[in-house]
Symmetry: C3
Subunit: 205 residues, 3 copies
């Protein structure tokens, strides 16, 4: 398996896992089957769609390669029919979610560099790709997005994207940069959940 | 009247009716006249704007043809000054809303096929065109969007879009495909409201 | 300083002030430092990003010129560390916010005309540029956006944008049009806050 198709499969896995997070939220909120599909699709695809819109890469890859839709739909069905099973798997799901976060941060940042953005905007686009789907997922059920409320979610994405920018500046081999970036983001995220890290609040409140 | 201008007029009618739904919601929430215009404009235009953004067809047709803005503004004024009358017309408004749903699903899907999308993404884009405006309308007043909460709204859009894809695959005459697609979506929607159909919820809850 | 760089510096000032409004809201809601950065960035940059997306001017200028990101980040840090000081400065902040509103309305409308939009859509785009960032800022913390709830916010943006369109139709010198447009919008906004103006509500409620 070459680096490109490895990237694609990891991307589809990230899509599936993010979709699962949307489907689980929809089931917990007693939405019907269409609500589950909408929320799964939003969480799975919206980050990449924003990335592509901002880069002017239209139509977005989520609409050009049907496998993205298939991954999102599969996640919706798993969440709908297997809610009980998935809920018991919360730890593995959290690990996969961390992996998805890292992967989307890395893929968003790489695509931004490819389109000629500077390092800082490229890192920002990596973060937006990684957190966008989850943010809209939460907004759709009228919740303040998790990325704003708790935990060092955006920082994990930032670290993963920063590794990509660093690797690009140093001309490192891309496969390694991807691997390190995804790993750094995912591991940081897992440790932050495990240890209950919180980001500081303003001294003014 | 040829097929193109028929399509345009139906599109403007759909814009007006969706705008009316936004204006009525704004008045019920006691928003001022600008809030009414914003909510009417959102409901009327946002679905088509997302469609055009995703296809890279910028600026969106809602910004290129001033008649779309005029239809949305007219709907806002009708809702603002004629709230009592429109509220008594809830059945005709529901029928027009179902027509708008069908028309936007069909127009979104047609444009997606024209831009070379595959069938599944084209159907998705039809659904997004049809439900996007209403979803943002609800989000703006901090409600969980109706498309997530109740009724078989997205399914009606899916059926209308699927007819377009089928007609395209079978090379049917486009006027008939449009007519059948809009009718199927609108009739399905009306029957689902009338009979109180609900989509199933997850067995896991 | 020529007209272009004056425009850029005013634009960056507007970005900073809008970012400050997002940061202050985030601190009041006890968000952590990342939430403060996200909300500041949203309020500062989102209006211009929508403008550029709708015009097809991708990547948006907020991602092409790193100074926009720097202005937003600076505003986030000021809000995070200096919340108490900024809160005591509410009057100067309100004046700066009104200036930002006028400037974004004018810059959005100018760019729309440059891209060949008609007057009415160009004015709409000016309004969207001016109010978009604040609207998403409020939505992210699950509030009904201020632009819908109260005060003659959108009207001030409309007036500023209308001056630009008028100046364009009459072929007036652009520096003057910008100056008058920004001033009209900002002064109207300040007076409306000072005098407690409210837009009328529907007679139907």
């Amino acid at each position: 398996m070459d680096a490109f198709s490895l990237g694609l499969w990891l991307d589809l896995l990230g899509t599936f896992v993010f979709g699962l997070s949307g489907a689980m939220l929809a089931v917990r909120r007693s939405l019907d089957v269409f609500g589950v599909v909408v929320l799964a699709g939003t969480a799975a695809l919206f980050g990449g769609v924003i990335r592509d819109l901002l880069l002017g890469a239209t139509p977005p890859s989520a609409l050009q390669d049907t496998r993205y839709l298939a991954a999102a739909l599969g996640a919706a069905l798993c969440g709908f029919f297997g809610h009980g099973v998935v809920a018991r798997l919360s730890k593995p799901v959290m690990v996969l979610d961390a992996l998805g976060l890292g992967l989307f941060a890395v893929s968003g940042c790489r695509k931004a560099l490819l389109f000629g953005l500077d390092p800082a905007p490229a890192i920002l686009l990596g973060i937006v790709t990684a957190v966008g789907g989850g943010a809209l997922r939460d907004l759709l059920v009228a919740e303040v997005p998790r990325v704003l409320r708790e935990e060092i979610y955006a920082l994990a994405a930032l670290l993963g994207a920063a590794v990509v920018v660093l690797g690009d500046l140093l001309n490192l081999q891309e496969e390694w940069t991807i691997l390190v970036g995804v790993t750094v983001a995912a591991v940081f995220r897992i440790i932050s959940v495990w240890r209950g890290w919180h980001a500081p609040r303003s001294p003014g409140t």
